[in-house]
């Protein structure tokens, strides 16, 4: 009956995959996950439709290299912030894993979230676990064709919506949806919509727990963050064993486990939690809900399978605050603080100063030398600004350029050429100076860029 659980008699290093038919489960943790799924899917499908200042609030415009997140437009030059964000994400994973095990896997991972929806659609069309098994083993009938077709139709529609929404983060979603409705998508848009639709369909429809078991690196290295006080889903073996059904156990002294195997049937990865902690366990707590329901029915106390720690199971006290947790928390808070400060203090102007390489210097009248620089002003602000360019840090130096003020449009880049002139009587060799670019209408928009001025060598 439970082919996927017991090892097959013959086992090579590869085995054909056995589908896991998981039984529907209800209870506290199931409700928690449904809430998480609803919130996360809502975010995913909703955010691209939000508007801000008359534009799509979140849009990663790759061809233009503009990454809009509400009022802020990030340029490729801000990629260090993305790095910081990823560091924060990694530290969060560390922190929550050390504290409560694979929370991410069980409740928040897209693989879990989308699989949940796809399983729900499967149950809607094919029925519960037993009916699905029966349907798959049975011969092709009208009912089977209809049910399978209905499932595929739901899956494919949902996949397409997912792919479309995902691409909608990169290509204006209103135009994208209109284009999809009238079959007027660009070739790249079509490719990525189909690509992500197919990836969703395959991952959530068919691969499911195999992604966690065979592909996901996080699944494997999260165990490195575990210690004896990390919350894990455990079966209370001393209380449950020896297991046996109520009927057969009348004349034997048995543990609390009635061996109903519901915990195995609800498991989305097809393991038996009663064998102890296993790498396949994504800590979804479905077995807890299932077991609690059974314990309620047979009149025994809940918690035969529960969130516990290895220390607790060994009869030692629980300990939430451990050095590991405190260090992760401190690192996480520091990273979040630094990131927030970086965003708050960000000056939406970048300036690159490139000295003309061919010309060392020009001799001009009055005993002065001239160096030429290309100044690239990147105005990441959503307003047009006029910039004045000055130099400091080099005695007697001044800027000569064709225009006094340089106008740069919103979210635009402009290269202007300036000539810096400096008296050459004293100075020799390469000297440092700062090119100061200052917006005339906003004191905060001031960037000082280091550059080099070349005098005569000797």
């Amino acid at each position: 009956m439970i082919a996927s659980i017991e090892p097959a008699a013959e086992q090579g290093l590869y085995a054909s995959h056995q589908k896991v038919y998981s039984r529907e489960v209800s209870g506290y943790y199931a409700r928690l996950r449904v809430a998480a799924v609803a919130a996360l899917l809502g975010l995913f499908y909703g955010v691209p439709w939000l508007r801000w200042d008359g534009r799509q609030a979140v849009l990663f415009d790759l061809p233009a290299r503009h990454f809009r997140v509400w009022g802020i437009t990030f340029f490729p030059q801000d990629f260090i912030l993305l790095t910081a964000l990823l560091v924060i994400a990694a530290l969060s994973l560390f922190f929550f894993t050390a504290l409560a095990g694979r929370l991410w896997c069980g409740y928040a991972c897209p693989q879990t979230v989308w699989t949940e929806i796809y399983v729900w659609m499967e149950r809607l069309t094919e029925g519960g676990r037993q009916r699905q098994i029966k349907l798959d083993r049975g011969r092709w009938s009208t009912e089977k064709v209809l049910r399978k077709t209905a499932k595929q139709a739901l899956w494919i529609t949902f996949s397409f919506l997912t792919g479309l929404t995902f691409v909608g983060y990169f290509s204006p979603i209103e135009r994208l949806v209109a284009g999809a409705a009238t079959l007027h998508l660009g070739s790249w848009e079509t490719f990525w919509v189909v690509f992500y639709s197919f990836a969703t369909y395959g991952n959530a429809g068919y691969l499911r727990e195999q992604v966690c078991k065979y592909m996901c690196p996080y699944a494997r290295f999260q165990s490195a963050m575990f210690d004896r006080h990390t919350l894990i889903i455990s079966y209370d073996a001393p209380r449950g064993e020896p297991r046996g059904s109520l009927r057969h156990g009348k004349n034997r002294r048995l543990g609390d486990c009635v061996d109903c195997t519901l915990c195995v049937q609800v498991c989305p990865t097809g393991i038996d939690i009663r064998k102890g902690l296993q790498y396949e366990c994504i800590a979804c707590a479905a077995c807890i809900d299932a077991c609690d329901g059974v314990m309620d029915k047979v009149g025994r106390s809940r918690g035969l399978i529960r969130y516990s720690t290895q220390a607790e199971m060994d009869g030692r006290p629980k300990q939430f605050l451990r050095p590991r947790v405190i260090v992760y928390a401190a690192l996480l808070l520091t990273a979040i603080g630094g990131f927030t400060a970086a965003i708050a203090l960000r000056v939406p102007v970048n300036v690159d100063v490139i000295r003309d390489r061919n010309t060392l210097y020009r001799v001009i009248d009055g005993g002065r030398l001239e160096n030429v620089y290309s100044v690239r002003i990147i105005n990441k602000d959503r307003k047009r600004h006029e910039f004045r360019i000055d130099v400091t840090g080099l005695p007697g130096a001044s800027v000569d350029s064709d225009r006094a003020a340089q106008e740069v449009g919103p979210e635009d880049v402009k290269t202007v050429v300036i000539r810096v002139r400096a008296p050459s009587a004293e100075a020799r060799g390469a000297q440092h100076l700062l090119v100061v670019t200052q917006a005339l209408d906003a004191p905060r928009l001031r960037v000082a860029t280091p550059a080099t001025f070349l005098f005569k060598a000797s």
């Binding site: 090579g12 290093l13 054909s16 995959h17 020009r362 290269t415």
Partner: protein, 329 residues
């Protein structure tokens, strides 16, 4: 590539693919001597550590096979086996040329409207000048500077002084077909003293060495230099030293010195001569881009000299002030 090397490369590539296949076949089998029913992978570390056999799904194996099939297909279509060029006849140079052609065509299409405009009209067309500025930065600024003001040995394009003439058509000719210019070396023919004489005279042409400051020796030098200049230099630079744009001979009476106006620089020029080369761009860039660049040169020249049309008569040289340090030895 010699046939032997080509054969070797092809053989190594195919042997690697065969090896990969063999590796997949070999690792897919359990090494358990007991045969079927293996519970562990049979790997043993540190005396007694073993690993449970959690078999991978079989479709995983098919992924390996698929990558190998992909590799074979790739080798059939693209170059990879020695000198076999692949059925698609793809090469990086052909792809580059195709892309270049596409980009060139896109530019031609974009600039279709300017074909009828004259160079002077073009130089006032902001849209054309925006493209031209990029073209200049890519192709010209290496020598003439980002601001088109040149460098020692590379002419300033904004000063209104033109070696070959500054009207629109001449500028176009200069860019399209290039210019070669040579100042012969006079050091050997004139000797050190002769060079000093000519140098002194040349300095007076642009108003340096004012008469009031001359010593008797200097006056004699200048007079000797004047004689040499009239016989030798005047052939190109003209009897009055104002140059000759038809052969690119520079005007020596103004303050513009292509190879440096300091005494040392001018002495070097007379003694050892100078060679200048402006490359031809007609082949390299094509007509449309050369026209854009010619218009851009007109544009920057006019912007730096407002109110004076490019190529108009040169202004009377203000003369370079001659600091005390700048007198001939």
């Amino acid at each position: 590539m010699s046939p032997a090397v080509a054969f070797l490369i092809g053989a190594v590539v195919l042997a690697n693919i065969a090896g990969a296949l063999w590796l997949i076949w070999w690792t897919a089998r359990s090494k358990d001597p007991a045969g079927a029913g293996a519970q562990t992978t049979t790997h043993v570390w540190d005396d007694d550590l073993t690993e449970y056999n959690n078999p991978l799904p079989r479709w995983w194996l098919w992924l390996f096979i698929l990558t190998i099939l992909f590799g074979l297909g790739y080798l059939l279509l693209y170059p990879g086996l020695g000198t076999f060029g692949g059925l698609l006849h793809w090469s990086s140079i052909s792809q580059y040329q195709a892309e270049k052609e596409t980009a060139g065509q896109a530019l031609e299409d974009r600039l279709a409207g300017i074909k009828t405009e004259s160079l002077v009209q073009l130089s006032h067309d902001p849209r054309a000048m925006a493209t031209a500025r990029n073209l200049f930065a890519l192709n010209c600024s290496t020598c003439h500077g980002s601001d088109a003001r040149g460098a020692k040995g590379f002419p300033n394009l904004t000063d209104g002084d033109w070696l070959w003439g500054g009207d629109a058509n001449t500028i176009y000719q200069t860019i399209a077909h290039g210019r070669d210019n040579a100042m012969p070396a006079w050091g050997g023919a004139l000797g050190p003293d002769g060079v000093e004489n000519v140098l002194s005279y040349v300095l007076t042409l642009s108003g340096r060495l004012p008469e009031a400051s001359r010593t008797a020796g200097m006056t004699a030098q200048i007079e000797a230099g004047r004689g040499t200049f009239k016989t030798l230099c005047a052939a190109c630079h003209g009897p009055d030293g104002k140059g000759n744009p038809t052969i690119g001979a520079p005007n020596l009476t103004d303050s513009v010195w292509l190879h440096g106006g300091e005494i040392e620089d001018i002495r070097e020029t007379i003694t050892h001569g100078r060679l200048n080369h402006m490359p031809a761009h007609a082949e390299l860039l094509g007509e449309t881009k050369v026209r854009l660049l010619a218009a851009y040169v007109l544009n920057v020249s006019e912007a730096a000299n407002p109110g004076r049309a490019a190529g108009a008569a040169r202004p009377a040289s203000p003369g370079q002030p001659a600091p005390a340090a700048m007198s001939p030895r």
